[in-house]
């Protein structure tokens, strides 16, 4: 590099800049007109296996569409997703849940699927209340990837050993008192806690509220409960803690809603409250001897509802919305996809596919189908979508509960704090 004029140096600089700029704008359409989609979800190993199989099938039928898949645990998933979307590198097809549909749609991250519904995206076989869960301000921003309902999964051996009865047959139910007795009996046997402390997740509090004709959020997006109600609920759970009816604080603090970290899979509790979309995960992580029971209720209302456990949405900035919608439609409506996916995201949302899948299901998927049939009359319509700010509320709820179980704050004060924090989050 002998003599270099100033102009030459400047030219080189410009060249360098231009080349770095060129690197940052990468297209995903190759020369032969084929399209590459990015499809991401959270979940465990077994959900990943079946989802990949379904994606393989889709690619076989659509040779011009390549699908890159990524999955991770719940927390990690949302950490990555928000960063990628903010950086303009969001996925084409993504998985969301109730709390996050509102968060993301409210911030214009999700495509409005309205123009595809009834054309390339069929929804006529999907129950209206499931579809409702994917609507924000009346626009379809997401489509339920399945149907699920709340449940208690338990290992019968622990309960049989202490003679505690858990209702599983159609029409059987139990009260909160009976539930607490059964759990405390198992805990007293000294092997494991009766159930994983469920006070940390706002989802189960929501069921308890519905049993009393209340709700977490009002239809206009305000808080629907009072500090007194939350105090009563947390105190009810607190009574079960000393006798090991529920798991001790140092186990509970680790809960994040994932199957692999659950108190039950780590063999610290004999049962766990969850959504039945997680059952297949429990079967593969814990063992095939598990059974599923309804949540207790003191009222005629079970408080349980048919919910979309997770939904699929298309990125607003996706360059290949048509292809992404095609994949979405395949995942929720195609019988072959339904067979492959089984009940890994709850039972299939499309009712025809559901009937087909359930007729030949086995293992975890069969347990889900049986449970859904047994509880058919008890499952109410879906709860409304959660408003923007609900992610923070869910997190603050758990954080405050940590303080409760470690006895750092009284239940009444904690409940007041939850209300205060939640009002701040809703107001922002």
């Amino acid at each position: 590099m002998g003599r270099m004029s100033r102009r030459g140096a400047a030219g080189l600089l410009v060249g360098l800049l231009a080349s770095t700029a060129a690197l940052s704008g990468c297209g995903s359409e190759s020369a032969d007109g084929s399209v590459t989609l990015r499809f991401v979800w959270w979940g465990n190993e077994d959900r990943a296996k079946v989802t990949r199989a379904a994606v393989e099938e889709f690619q076989k039928r659509n040779p011009d569409i390549k699908v890159e898949t990524e999955y991770s645990g719940y927390d990690a998933y949302f950490q990555k997703l928000s960063t990628q979307v903010a950086g303009g590198a969001g996925p084409d097809l993504l998985q969301l849940d109730r709390g996050t549909i509102g968060e993301y749609a409210g911030r214009n991250v999700l495509a409005d699927l309205g123009e595809y519904v009834g054309k390339t995206l069929k929804v006529d076989k999907i129950p209206a209340n499931l579809l409702e869960g994917g609507k924000v301000d009346g626009k379809q921003h997401a489509v339920a990837a399945g149907a699920t309902t709340q449940m208690l999964i338990f290992d019968p051996t622990h309960f049989e050993a202490v003679g505690a009865k858990v209702p599983t047959a159609p029409g059987e139910k139990w009260t909160w008192t009976e539930f607490a007795d059964a759990m405390t009996k198992v805990g007293a046997a000294g092997q494991v806690s009766g159930t994983t402390d469920f006070g940390w997740a706002i989802d189960w509090f929501e069921v308890w509220l519905h049993q009393r004709d209340k709700s977490l959020y009002t239809p206009d997006g305000k808080l629907g409960f009072s500090a007194e109600e939350l105090t009563e609920y947390w105190e009810m759970i607190g009574k079960m803690r000393p006798g090991k009816g529920v798991s001790p604080a140092e186990v509970t603090t680790k809960m994040d809603g994932s199957v692999q970290n659950s108190g039950m899979v780590t063999k610290q509790a004999a049962s766990e409250i969850g959504y039945d979309s997680g059952v297949t995960g429990y079967f593969s992580a814990y063992g095939p001897s598990l059974k599923v029971a309804p949540l207790p209720s003191d009222a005629a209302e079970s408080g349980m509802a048919a919910m979309p456990p997770v939904s699929f949405a298309v990125g607003q900035r996706s360059k290949h919305k048509d292809a992404a919608v095609k994949l979405l439609d395949f995942l929720v409506n195609d019988p072959e996809a339904g067979k492959l996916l089984g009940a890994s995201r709850g039972v299939p949302p499309n009712e025809e596919v559901r009937a087909q899948v359930c007729s030949s299901a086995e293992g975890g998927s069969k347990a889900v189908c049986d449970y859904e049939v047994a509880q058919k009359d008890k499952i109410g319509p879906a709860f409304g979508a959660w408003p923007t700010g609900s992610s923070a509320i869910k997190r603050d709820f758990q954080r405050t509960y940590d303080d409760v179980i470690f006895n750092r704050v009284s239940v009444a004060d904690a409940a007041k704090r939850v209300i205060q924090d939640a009002e701040k989050s809703l107001g922002s």
Binding site: L12, T20, S82, R107, E250, K254, D402, D403, F406, S428
Partner: protein
């Protein structure tokens, strides 16, 4: 006084170097070679810093355009955010405990390794290795497993009758898991201390010994003063590092800062505000507050250095 017979040599000024084209061209080449760094610094450091200063005065949710709200983020932070103060206090505790511990360990091990023994090179590498693993996620994961209930540490302590349970699952101990993780990575300051120790003249020790100074006296009167510039360097560096600690807390608490906010270090809370609450404006404001605080503290440490740092060649 008569004039000296010795003729002073005349001072000959070197002729001024003509401003040649060659020199200017040399500058051009220098800039050319510097350009990768200049481009990198501008695009990856200075640009983003300016952007984040702007964002700190806005309400920005990551996805939509930021809207200007003036100093509101700063006001909220100082007046209405309990978690901000909690995170500040947690980080302060972490810095106050982990930095002296880490430096103490580093110095102690450096003294050990300063002896002329066979195989000392091997030990040096062995003690330095943990720092190479640095703030990596894998180490933090191993840490979490070791310090959880029924983990290695829990069992070891139980076997000697200390039934503390898992540290990471209990609010009163969780932070010490992170302190231990930081202290364990003492390799970098250790290597610097070792270099400093090599610089201390042996004669000083010999002289002190002749004057009847025992090992403790020699350490206090010779080693520490001679090392003080190195101590200052390590202290400043490690303090800045400790304020920025994030990875360990993030991994050990799965990003939540639990149990019950015991590991909510300031950078972790900043991250939560930005990426889980979608309040990037607020997070940027927090980042600038941290920058100012660390800068002020560093300045204070440098001011205090006049009192205790001894540079060779100075009179005391």
């Amino acid at each position: 006084m008569t004039q000296s017979l010795v003729k002073r040599p005349e001072v000959v000024e070197p002729p001024p170097a003509p401003a040649t084209r060659g020199r200017r061209r040399g500058q051009g080449v220098a800039y050319l070679f510097l350009s990768p760094w200049i481009i990198g610094a501008t695009l990856l450091t200075i640009g983003p810093m300016v952007a984040s200063l702007y964002l700190s005065f806005t309400d920005y949710d990551l996805f939509e355009a930021p809207s200007w709200i003036g100093v509101e983020n700063y006001v909220t932070m100082f007046t209405a955010d309990e978690r901000f103060w909690h995170a500040t206090w947690t980080t302060t505790k972490y810095v106050l405990i982990s930095v002296p511990l880490k430096l103490g360990l580093a110095l102690a091990v450096a003294m050990l390794l300063n002896r002329q023994r066979s195989g000392v090179g091997l030990y040096r590498s062995a003690f330095y290795a943990p720092s190479l693993l640095g703030a990596s996620v894998s180490v933090a994961l191993a840490w979490r497993a070791m310090f959880s209930t029924d983990g290695t540490v829990d069992r070891l302590l139980s076997s000697v009758g200390l039934d503390l349970g898992g540290w990471v699952d209990q609010p009163q101990y969780a932070l010490y898991t992170l302190v231990a993780l930081a202290a364990w990575q003492f390799g970098a300051p250790m290597v610097i201390f070792l270099a400093g120790l090599k610089q201390v003249p042996r004669e000083l020790y010999e002289a002190a010994a002749i004057d009847g100074a025992g090992p403790a006296r020699r350490f206090l009167s010779v080693t520490l003063p001679m090392l003080s510039p190195v101590i200052l360097f390590n202290l400043v560096l490690e303090t800045i590092h400790a304020f920025q600690a994030f990875t360990g807390a993030f991994v050990v608490s799965s990003g939540r800062g639990g149990p019950s906010d015991a590991t909510l270090l300031y950078p972790l809370y900043l991250y939560q505000r930005g990426f889980t609450d979608f309040r990037m404006g607020y997070a940027s404001a927090m980042a600038w507050v941290l920058l100012v605080v660390v800068a002020v503290l560093t300045a204070l440490v440098f001011r205090s250095a006049r009192r205790w740092v001894f540079y060779a060649g100075e009179d005391r």
